[in-house]
């Protein structure tokens, strides 16, 4: 049993302490926007914010997440308005299959918190999510668009 604070709400989840946060979010809390891609913290499809930092939730245990503020893709919009990264994603028609995009958007939102006007080099270093459809050209354009929004 653990109390997780996800998208501003504290939720009691009945899982073992070493359960990956990803699976607690998806199966116990029921928020499926956070995706499973590799389970070894490589692909980034499961990226969420833990105390504002982009983390791959398959590599974080529930016990490590207790007491932290967790934000998932479902909690990125506020007051009914999409986050500026989501808006830029819609405006630039970024997703193809879309499966990696929750993680991609969460990684970008964290990057813009840290570096509001990232250079291409900043993007190359910070955004290491895998996208098999190959949306990177639109991702880069949308990051710059969000940064100047």
């Amino acid at each position: 049993m653990a109390n997780l604070t996800i998208n501003g709400k504290t939720i009691n989840v009945d899982v073992e302490d070493d359960t990956p946060l990803l699976w607690a979010i998806r199966e116990n809390v029921g928020l499926t926007g956070t995706k499973y891609g590799c389970g070894i913290a490589l692909c980034g499809a499961c990226t969420v914010h833990v105390d504002g930092v982009a983390m791959r939730s398959c590599g974080v245990t529930v016990s490590e997440a207790v007491g932290k503020q967790i934000t998932t893709i479902e909690g990125l919009a506020s007051n009914g308005a999409l986050h500026k990264v989501q808006q830029a994603w819609v405006a630039n028609d970024v997703p193809q299959c879309g499966y990696c995009q929750s993680g991609m958007i969460m990684a970008v939102a964290a990057l813009l918190n840290e570096k509001p006007k990232p250079t291409d080099q900043d993007i190359n270093e910070a955004i290491t999510n895998i996208c098999r459809c190959g949306t990177f050209q639109q991702v880069r354009e949308a990051i710059h668009a969000a940064a100047s929004a």
Partner: protein, 728 residues
């Protein structure tokens, strides 16, 4: 109906909605007072025909039978229907008809298969007619109400106008009457040059849900009382499950059942997938691996190499003149041996399907590239007849050909059959997805060219050796044993025709089928055939001191469409003009899936081993372009997929098993390596070619030829990581 793109969709209503549809409630026949039949959608709105439902508020529901896996077909097909329908694009939503409904209505929606870049090109004619037919019926209904000739009425933006009087009405108001009319026997389609909705780079219809986490993929399905399953199939293909020691995992949390699946796999069913996977990892399993456990990449390579010997039998895919004789008597001969490895699709969403079985009904929820094939697999695995089965298609987290196969559907049904009345979601781990792929086949190729004394290419011999996909996947499609698809890009004619005329040509295939199961992998045989042909063309040109573009042009005079895209790319990349300092260029062209494509790369190389791809120029002539913005994205994406395979890909075999287990051993390109991709679209009209796949063919050869230009070193083997070459 599976409504995947509706304005106010939330997860709960989605799942309940699809469950209800599965119970057969989506469609009903409404025969008031013995009048004409009206078929109604789940919400009661009438169908004008199978492609078009119009709601009273003027929302147009376009039915799309092909699957959306990121390639944009969902939006493109809706554009084509809307174009002919003359409806208000801002009020268009889409729905998947289910395979069960289609079967019950005599395949009303035609082919569901979404592969071979066919999504649009193979259905454009009948979906456009569906839109046009509906428009004629809606106009007729309005004319009947006004008691005026239909010829005096026009339609635009879902509004019908009687031109002489200026009276107007809407599609939503006349749809009930229109749905009762006889459809016109024939309709005239618009000339594409008059398109207003099609042909435009309109925004995709599925983007918002894909940015908010709301889109439901197969892996996200939730049903009341649902359990979760993790599975392990014998890692040696063709092997069997010998035994497993269930007692060793007894008492682990959440386990509900351990199930033998077919004769080669075992699944653990638990309350959560994490519990199922954890228990499966702890389950001792013994396999009967069989003879295939002796196979390795080395043994496969040796077997294929034997097939390069002309003395071995081979199927002839293309021939003119006498290439062998011309080579034997040539003044100058050039020879090179190439190879291309197995590749895994590695869709971001691993394979999965959810099944609910009772003796009276079997329902499946899954992402599939072929709803009808998934339906057939459901029938077979459940043992139930068609009227007791249904498949609910979901948006795919990537397909690339992998989800045209139905192995995961069959497994889900077999597991659910062991737990009647309980829905079970089967999700493969990434490791299972890597181990149990349907792999891009392995091939080798010996290329031989011959020149006369004036450096004219007099003969070309392409000797392919390797695996056939059709032999395993679709044996009925073999022609007297020959896999004609093995010659993609090298065929004498058709939608994958060679772009060169050589006086003496021989293209042949020595078929050798290792035990590793093959599958259609984005671009399929165009991938390696374009490397073999286009890299060798570069070799031939350099061997006689000619410019690679000029060299090709001399062989392409009878192939004007191939030549046009090559010229378009050459011009845009600045071929023949100086490149920036330290930057080198390579170029390639091929035809596949009915489209002519070419690509050029600008790269620089650091220390021989690090390649920076600065810029890609790609051109395509697919005949017609339905959504240029999506075509651009498909082209850019195909380079990511193609270059990932070139640099990082390659699946190897040891002890009969695939060695790569996850993205740590089968890496994929990241944004840092992404070059700028510029597209030159030159649609010439008069034919419909595909978009999702063809351009992947030119990705690797363009970069490999640029690498030669930069270093003088020829690379004839993929992946580059095996030669210590990586992205800079």
């Amino acid at each position: 109906m599976n409504k995947h793109v509706t304005p106010k969709l939330n997860r709960r209503t989605f799942v309940i909605g699809t469950a209800a549809a599965g119970a057969g409630l989506a469609l009903g026949l409404d025969i008031p007072f013995g009048g004409p039949k009206v078929v109604r959608a789940a919400d009661g709105s009438p169908e004008v025909n199978v492609w078009v439902v119009i709601r009273p508020d003027n929302t147009t529901v376009v039915r799309v039978a092909r699957s959306e896996m990121g390639q944009g077909t969902l939006t493109g097909l809706a554009q084509l229907v809307a174009e002919e329908l003359e409806c208000d694009w801002s009020k268009v939503v889409t729905e998947y008809p289910t395979p069960g409904q289609s079967v019950a209505r005599k395949r009303a929606w035609g082919d569901f298969s979404t592969g071979g870049s066919r999504g649009i090109r193979s259905s454009q004619d009948y979906v456009r007619k569906g839109g046009a037919t509906a428009r004629v019926m809606l106009i007729q209904a309005a004319a009947n109400e006004w008691k005026v000739p239909a010829s005096e009425c026009t339609a635009a933006n879902s509004i019908i106008t009687h031109t002489p009087s200026g009276r107007t009405t809407t599609y939503g108001k006349v749809v009930e009457a229109a749905a009762k009319l006889e459809p016109p026997a024939d309709v005239k389609l618009k000339d594409p040059k008059d398109w207003k909705i099609a042909g435009k780079g309109l925004k995709r219809l599925d983007t918002v849900e894909k940015t908010t986490g709301a889109m439901i993929y197969g892996a996200d399905v939730k049903l009341p009382g649902m359990l979760n399953a993790a599975i392990k199939d014998c890692p040696v293909f063709g092997g069997k499950l010998k035994s497993y020691d269930e007692a060793k995992i007894a008492g682990m949390k959440g386990i509900k059942k351990v199930v033998k699946v077919g004769d080669s796999a075992v699944a653990v069913v638990a309350d959560t997938w994490w519990h199922a996977k954890t228990a499966l990892d702890a389950l001792p399993i013994a396999w009967d691996e069989g003879e295939n456990a002796k196979v390795s990449s080395e043994s496969i390579a040796n077997w294929l190499a034997e097939g390069l010997d002309n003395a071995q039998p081979a199927y002839i895919g293309n021939q003119n003149g006498d290439a062998k004789a011309a080579i034997a008597s040539a003044v100058k001969k050039v020879e090179a041996v190439y190879n291309y490895p197995y590749q895994n699709h590695a869709t971001m969403e691993p394979m999965n399907a959810t099944a609910l079985y009772t003796p009276d009904k079997c329902e499946v929820w899954c992402g599939t590239q072929n709803g009808e094939a998934a339906f057939a697999a459901t029938l077979e695995a459940s043992g139930l007849p068609a009227e007791k089965c249904e498949v609910h298609k979901l948006i795919l987290g990537g397909g690339f050909g992998r989800r045209g196969m139905t192995d995961y559907v069959r497994q889900a049904v077999l597991i659910a059959k062991e737990m009647p009345g309980t829905p079970v979601k089967l999700l493969w781990s990434r490791e299972e997805d890597m181990a149990q792929g349907k792999f891009h086949p392995v091939t080798q190729c010996k290329m031989t060219g011959a020149f006369d004394a004036d450096n004219n290419l007099t003969a070309l011999h392409v000797r392919l050796s390797g695996q056939s996909i059709l032999y395993t996947v679709r044996p009925a499609a073999l022609v007297n044993g020959m896999d004609t698809a093995a010659f993609q890009g090298l065929s004498p004619s058709g939608d994958a025709a060679i772009g060169y005329s050589v006086p003496n040509l021989l293209v042949e295939h020595s078929m050798r089928n290792p035990h590793v199961p093959p599958g259609f992998w984005r671009g399929v045989n165009v991938n390696q055939n374009a490397i073999y042909m286009e890299c060798f063309m570069d070799e031939l040109a350099h061997s006689v001191g000619q410019d690679p573009v000029e060299f090709r042009r001399k062989l392409m005079s009878k192939h004007p469409k191939h030549l046009a895209v090559l010229n378009a790319v050459a011009e845009k990349i600045g071929w023949g003009k100086p490149a920036p300092q330290g930057v080198y260029r390579g170029i390639a062209q091929v035809m596949g899936y009915g489209s002519y494509v070419a690509g050029a790369a600008e790269i620089s190389v650091i220390d021989d081993g690090k390649i920076k791809v600065h810029r890609i120029v790609a051109s395509t002539d697919p005949g017609y372009i339905v959504n240029p913005a999506q075509v651009e994205r498909q082209i850019a994406g195909s380079f990511v997929y193609g270059l990932s395979a070139l640099f990082y890909g390659g699946c190897t075999v040891k002890d009969g098993k695939i060695e790569q287990t996850n993205f740590d051993t089968y890496d994929s390109m990241r944004i840092a390596a992404m070059p700028k991709v510029e597209c030159v679209m030159v649609p010439s009209g008069g034919f419909w070619g595909g978009v999702g796949e063809p351009t992947i063919g030119v990705a690797a050869p363009a970069v490999l030829n640029a690498y030669f230009a930069a270093t003088g070193k020829r690379i004839r083997s993929v992946p580059l990581k095996d030669q210590n070459i990586t992205f800079a």
